[in-house]
C-alpha cells in the first residue's frame, strides 16, 4: 500500500510530462469526412450582421445539393484577421481551401502565399461546361482587377465596392440644403459647413478604417496619385489641397474625426449629415435608418473621378487535387447568378459577374445599379508593391491621424510620409 502511494503519483507525473511533450503536435488536416465526402474550408468576412446568415444558407444549399463535397464556412473577422490567420496557418503548413482576400492585400498575398490561378484551376479540374468558367463569368475589365503584373490571376473577383456618400435627408432639410447640390467635393465642403452652422449635427464623416481607401478617393479624384512608377507620389499640390479641405472641416468642428465604429454609430443615430463609406454598407444603413439617400462619392471640378475598388477576391488555397476539384465545383455554385446576387443583395457589393448586367436584380437594387454605372471611373485599390506594402499603408494611416488629430499641416505631413515610404524601396 505504501509503495502504491508512491507509485501512483509518480506515474501520474510521468503521464503529465509525456502529455506535455505531446501537446505540440499538429493534427493533420484530413481530406475526407468519415462518410467519404471531400471536405473543404471557406473563410470569409461576413459576420452575423453583414450577410453571415446568407453565406450559411448558400453553403448549406450547396452541401444539400450533392453528396460528394462538404463545405465548412468560417467567419474569421475583417480582412486583416483573415491575413493573420492565413499567415499563422501557413506557418504550420496548413491552409483553408477558399478565402476572401481584401483587395488591399493583393500584392502581399500574391508574393507570399501559395494559390491556384483560377484559369488553371478550371482548365484542370473543371467539367466540359466550366473549362472556360472565368471568361464566361467575368468581363475582361473585372478579371484584370485580380491579375498581377506577371499576368497570373490571383483569384476570382467577388466583392466589389466603391466609395459612396450616405446622406441624412432629415439633416439636409433642417439645414436647408438640397441633395442635388452635392456635385463636387467643394459642394460637400460647403454643405458640411452649412449643416454644422444651422443644426447641432456634424456635417461630414469620412470613414477612418485601418485602410486609406476612403482617403484615396478624396485625393486621387483631385489628380494626385498614391503611387507612380512603383514609388510613393502622395505629396503633391493636388493631394495637399484635397487633404486640407477635410482637415479644415475637422478642425473647425464641421466634420467628425473618430474611429470607424464610432463614426458609423454616429451616422446611424442621426448625428452626421454626410457619411462616406463603401457601397457594401447600403443594406445596413437603409434598413437601420429611414433618412438615408445615397450617391456615388463625388470628384473635384476639373479632374477625372477616381473610385478605388474595395471588397475582395476569392483565392483558391487548396493543397490537394481532390480539394482543388471540390473548390472549383463550389466556386461555380457561389458565382451562379442566383447565389451571387443573393449575397450582393444583402451586402450591397456590386455583382462582378456578366450575367448580372440588365438583370431584374439590378432593377430592384438602384443603389447597386448606380454604383455599377460608375465602374468606368473604377481604379484599383492602391497597393504598394513588395513586402513593405503593408508598412507603407500604415505610414499613410499615421499621416492621416497626424493631420487630423495633431493639426500638422498637410503639406508637412504628406512630404514626410512620402519620404518615409520611399526610403523603404
Amino acid at each position: 500500500m505504501k509503495i502504491m502511494k508512491q507509485i501512483v503519483p509518480m506515474a501520474m507525473a510521468a503521464v503529465l510530462a509525456f502529455g506535455a511533450t505531446g501537446c505540440g503536435t499538429t493534427a493533420s488536416s484530413s481530406t475526407t469526412t468519415a462518410d467519404g465526402k471531400v471536405e473543404i474550408e471557406y473563410w470569409h468576412i461576413n459576420s452575423e450582421s453583414f450577410a453571415g446568415p446568407t453565406v450559411t444558407d448558400i453553403v448549406k444549399r450547396f452541401n444539400e445539393s450533392q453528396d460528394e463535397i462538404v463545405v465548412k464556412e468560417k467567419y474569421i473577422g475583417e480582412y486583416q484577421s483573415i491575413m493573420q490567420n492565413l499567415q499563422a496557418d501557413a506557418a504550420v503548413g496548413t491552409s483553408p481551401d477558399l478565402v476572401q482576400i481584401g483587395w488591399s492585400y493583393k500584392e502581399y498575398f500574391g508574393n507570399n502565399f501559395a494559390y491556384t490561378d483560377p484559369n488553371e484551376l478550371f482548365a484542370e479540374y473543371g467539367t466540359e461546361e466550366t473549362k472556360n468558367f472565368i471568361d464566361d463569368t467575368y468581363a475582361e475589365s473585372v478579371q484584370a482587377l485580380a491579375v498581377l503584373d506577371s499576368g497570373e490571376m490571383l483569384g476570382m473577383p467577388y466583392g466589389m465596392s466603391i466609395p459612396m456618400l450616405f446622406l441624412n435627408t432629415d439633416i439636409f432639410a433642417e439645414a436647408g440644403i438640397a441633395v442635388e447640390d452635392l456635385v463636387t467635393w467643394w459642394d460637400v465642403d460647403a454643405a458640411a459647413r452649412t449643416i454644422a452652422e444651422n443644426t447641432d449635427k456634424y456635417g461630414l464623416y469620412i470613414g477612418e478604417s485601418n485602410y486609406v481607401w476612403e482617403m484615396q478617393q478624396l485625393i486621387e479624384s483631385n489628380g494626385a496619385r498614391y503611387i507612380t512608377d512603383g514609388i510613393c507620389s502622395i505629396y503633391s499640390p493636388e493631394s495637399v489641397e484635397a487633404m486640407e479641405l477635410y482637415a479644415g472641416l475637422v478642425h473647425d468642428g464641421s466634420a467628425l474625426h473618430v474611429v470607424i465604429e464610432e463614426g458609423r454609430q454616429a451616422y446611424l443615430a442621426g448625428e452626421v449629415g454626410i457619411y462616406m463609406d463603401s457601397v457594401a454598407y447600403t443594406n445596413i444603413t437603409t434598413t437601420t435608418t429611414d433618412f438615408t439617400e445615397i450617391m456615388v462619392a463625388p470628384g473635384w471640378e476639373d479632374e477625372e473621378l477616381q473610385l478605388p475598388i474595395g471588397g475582395n477576391f476569392l483565392a483558391v488555397t487548396s493543397s490537394t487535387d481532390e480539394k482543388k476539384a471540390a473548390t472549383a465545383e463550389f466556386l461555380t455554385w457561389m458565382l451562379d447568378a442566383e447565389n451571387m446576387l443573393q449575397w450582393n443583395g444583402v451586402t450591397g457589393y456590386i455583382p462582378p459577374i456578366k450575367s448580372a448586367v440588365g438583370s431584374e436584380f439590378m432593377a430592384e437594387n438602384p443603389v447597386i445599379q448606380m454604383a455599377y454605372d460608375n465602374l468606368d471611373s473604377a481604379v484599383p485599390w492602391a497597393a504598394f508593391p513588395g513586402n513593405n506594402g503593408l508598412q507603407a499603408e500604415q505610414i499613410l494611416i499615421a499621416m492621416r491621424d497626424e493631420i487630423l488629430s495633431s493639426g500638422t499641416p498637410s503639406e508637412e505631413a504628406m512630404k514626410k510620409a512620402q519620404e518615409e515610404i520611399n526610403k523603404m524601396y
Partner: protein
C-alpha cells in the same frame, strides 16, 4: 537504490511537467525569438535573410519607437494607480473600515473579471462613443461635450487604461484583500485605540506587513497591465491616432501580426525583455530588500 537517489528521482519526476512546460512554452520560444530578431522574415517565406543588427537599428532610429516608449511609461503610471494603489486602499477599507456590505463590494468588484476584455472593449466602444454613447448623452444634458478620446493623444491612453482596469481591478483587489486580511486584527485595533489615523495605519502598519504580496502585485500589475491593454488597443484604436495609444508590447504584436515583420517584432520583444528585466532587477534591489517576510 539509495534513499537519497530515490528521493532525487521522485522530485525530478514531480517537477518534470512544470519544467517541460517552462522549457517548451517559455524558454525555447524566448531563445527562438532572440534568434529571429537577426533575420528579415515573415514566418512563411521559405528563405530567412540574415540581417544582423538591422532590425534593432531600424527600431532605435525610428522616432515612433520613442513615442511608443513614452506611452508605455504613461500606461504603467496610470495602471499602477488604478490597478494597484486604488485596489490596495479599497482592500484596506473593506477589511478594516466597512462593517457592512464588504462581501457585496468584493463580489461586484470581481465580476468584470469574468468578462473577456475583447467583449468589454466592444461594449465600451458603444458606451464611450463620444457622439451618441450613453456617457456622451448624459454629459450633453449638463451642457458638457464629451471629448473625442479615441483620436486625442494622451486622453486615449487614459481611457484605454481605465477600460483595462475595469477588467483586472477585481482580481488585484481580491489578492490584496487576502494579503490585508493576513494582518492581525489586534494590531489594527490597538492602533485604532491609540487614535492613530487610518492613513497612518495603512501606510505604516498594513502596507509594510503585506509587503510580500503587494510587491508581487506591484510587479504583476505592470506586466499583466501591459499585456491586457493589447485587447482594447486592438479593438478600439489599432495603436492610433498616429501611434498615440500604442505601447512597446502592442508595437511588437502589431509588427508581427499586422505588418508580418517577424524579425522586427522579435527585436522589439527582445528590447522589451531587456528593459523590463533591468527594471525588475532595479526594483528588487531598491524595493525588494525592504519587503518584510514573516518567517
Amino acid at each position: 537504490m539509495e534513499l537519497n537517489q530515490r528521493e532525487k528521482i521522485k522530485s525530478i519526476l514531480f517537477l518534470s511537467p512544470a519544467i517541460i512546460c517552462f522549457v517548451v512554452f517559455l524558454l525555447i520560444p524566448m531563445l527562438y525569438t532572440v534568434y529571429l530578431s537577426f533575420f528579415d522574415w515573415n514566418m512563411i517565406r521559405p528563405e530567412m535573410d540574415f540581417v544582423g543588427l538591422d532590425n534593432y537599428i531600424k527600431i532605435f532610429t525610428d522616432e515612433t519607437t520613442y513615442k511608443v516608449l513614452r506611452n508605455t511609461f504613461s500606461y504603467i503610471g496610470i495602471i499602477l494607480i488604478t490597478n494597484f494603489c486604488i485596489p490596495f486602499v479599497f482592500a484596506f477599507v473593506c477589511k478594516f473600515v466597512l462593517h457592512k456590505f464588504a462581501n457585496f463590494y468584493k463580489t461586484t468588484m470581481f465580476m468584470p473579471g469574468f468578462i473577456s476584455l475583447i467583449v468589454g472593449s466592444v461594449i465600451f466602444t458603444w458606451i464611450l462613443n463620444p457622439i451618441v454613447g450613453p456617457v456622451a448623452l448624459f454629459l450633453k444634458e449638463f451642457g458638457v461635450k464629451m471629448p473625442v478620446w479615441s483620436t486625442t493623444e494622451g486622453l486615449v491612453i487614459v481611457v484605454i487604461s481605465l477600460i483595462t482596469s475595469w477588467k483586472s481591478f477585481g482580481y488585484n483587489f481580491i489578492m490584496l484583500y487576502s494579503a490585508v486580511s493576513g494582518v492581525s486584527g489586534e494590531v489594527i485595533e490597538a492602533a485604532q485605540l491609540d487614535n492613530i489615523p487610518l492613513r497612518k495605519i495603512f501606510l505604516q502598519i498594513v502596507a509594510p506587513m503585506t509587503g510580500f504580496t503587494s510587491f508581487y502585485m506591484f510587479v504583476m500589475t505592470i506586466i499583466q497591465g501591459l499585456t491586457y491593454v493589447i485587447s482594447p488597443i486592438d479593438v478600439l484604436t489599432k495603436g492610433g491616432p498616429n501611434y498615440g495609444s500604442s505601447n512597446i508590447v502592442y508595437a511588437a504584436y502589431f509588427k508581427a501580426f499586422y505588418m508580418f515583420d517577424t524579425g522586427g517584432a522579435a527585436a522589439m520583444a527582445v528590447i522589451t525583455l531587456v528593459i523590463f528585466g533591468f527594471g525588475l532587477f532595479l526594483l528588487n534591489e531598491v524595493v525588494g530588500k525592504l519587503v518584510y517576510y514573516e518567517n
